[in-house]
Symmetry: C2
Subunit: 297 residues, 2 copies
């Protein structure tokens, strides 16, 4: 990091990895939109302010939809080394720590950066990721509805059978075409590898852990909506797999509310495989008409 | 409960116990105040609406201050049996369950009733209680600040030494005069029995569990402020007991922020001791000038 503290006259770009969390309630999702408050817009503006620049651009691991939260979101940003070195820090504070503190000071309290670090060689927040893990939280018992957690736990009006949902969920695992659970986009693939999908009752709250190499748009929320039909006893567990193999959206399956969904963690391979992973992801997913829907929720 | 479903022409009063939770953020505390949104005001108005009456009065176990939350608050209310029986329910739904559902439908989502039940003979939400348990939550590590829990976890600017705080806390347990930690009120006693005061790091968050027979005004928050001085290393653990034995407020001890504090649970004796406990509490605490500060936080 010595080169960050003592920049030469020659400006070089440095790639930073930023780990952050946000409460999606008052954001119109991750992606920047003119005239609307978004997480990307909020953070890029804060970084512009702190770095006294314009045009800071963040690349995100998992683009979250309006109302969706994140606890383990990851982004990268490419900065001039000298702009970074000029962020005023306290004493021997590293420029990355000064950046963290100052951006948190400027941004709203509903988004918090936890860590800023120099990214390892070949790191790309989006394309190097090998999996994303989401949680979906439901209070299906009125006595468990906690006002302090109402921002991120959905109050469900009927009790859900966790065992039936887990039987149904297990039949969706693996490499499958999730077209039935995705908002269609022309030319974009809906084939994903679902690594984990399991419900657990934690302190009375139903929590789904959902992990996949990547997700298409509204995929977790559609899976939750489908499993809830089973959980309510309106369909047998085999229903979920039937919906999946039909490869068309089912009229009886609703997309579950956004505010129950939280991006919890993004997985990356060891440092020496980051570049190869990024190259592979780009080749596999970036078809001509692909519209970034490989990592949307 | 048969008498609740089939009231005779003669109206009799029935005492209900109500268990509830609230997010204190947007309330000016529990106690009703003209022109301000309070938990008591919100619930009494909702019950008036549902019962088509006026003047519903709730008695609370622990009066919480502005910004303080509750997960296990308890109140009682005396209602006419026939007014209760007339709350429209669904099918065989008991009147108490219909009341719960309808009051939750009318009140803001930041307060939720979990249970309504006919109170056992001799039950008084305030005077029958034998202890109140509060939790105080602090994120003293910037990487643990969770935007989704910012309503009830205080972001502390410096790291805290949990072991030092527990050494200090242990020396405050038992029957003591907590005048140093109470807002003085003329004629009101500040002698309390502190049953538990212990910090634990749970998922990276510092949580204090504080239990006493009752609390005087701002007592938990003052105890937390005192222990934080020790936790930051500005004083040795013996400082907390010194402050207590001095019986005067210490200028170096700040009252910790309200939003870290949550009333978690209220304890009651077995049903056959409820009336005796209530009579005892009244005798002990209701001095002529006492201003209800036996159960304030």
């Amino acid at each position: 990091m010595a080169d960050l503290l003592h920049p030469s006259w020659k400006t070089e770009a440095v790639r930073l990895r930023i780990d952050l969390s946000y409460d999606g309630t008052d954001f119109n999702g991750w992606a920047i939109q003119p005239g609307r408050r978004t997480v990307q817009g909020e953070l890029e503006a804060a970084m512009d302010t702190v770095l006294r620049t314009t045009g800071t651009r963040l690349t995100v691991a998992g683009r979250t939809d309006r109302g969706v939260h994140a606890r383990g979101q990851v982004v990268h940003v490419d900065l001039d080394e000298d702009a970074l070195a000029q962020v005023p820090g306290r004493g021997v504070q590293a420029p990355v720590d000064a950046l963290l503190r100052r951006v948190n000071g400027v941004a709203g309290r509903d988004v918090r950066i936890h860590r800023v670090s120099q990214a390892p060689e070949g790191f790309d927040a989006r394309f190097s990721a090998i999996w994303r893990r989401y949680a979906y939280r439901i209070a299906d018992d009125p006595t468990m509805v906690d006002p302090l957690r109402r921002s991120h736990v959905v109050a469900w009006p009927r009790p859900l059978d966790v065992d039936a949902m887990n039987v149904a969920a297990a039949e969706l695992l693996g490499l499958n075409d999730f077209a039935s659970f995705c908002k269609r986009r022309e030319g974009a693939t809906t084939i994903r590898t679902l690594l984990d999908l399991r419900w657990e009752r934690i302190d009375g709250i139903l929590v789904a852990e959902v992990r996949a190499d990547a997700f298409c748009h509204s995929m977790v929320r559609s899976l939750v909506g489908c499993l809830a039909v089973v959980g309510e006893g309106r369909k047998r567990p085999g229903f979920a797999r039937e919906v999946m193999t039909s490869k068309t959206r089912h009229p009886g399956v609703a997309v579950a509310p956004a505010h129950g969904l939280t991006l919890e963690e993004v997985g990356y391979p060891p440092d020496d495989q980051l570049a190869a992973q990024a190259a592979g992801s780009r080749t596999k997913r970036m078809l001509p008409t692909d519209s970034h829907d490989d990592d949307d929720e």
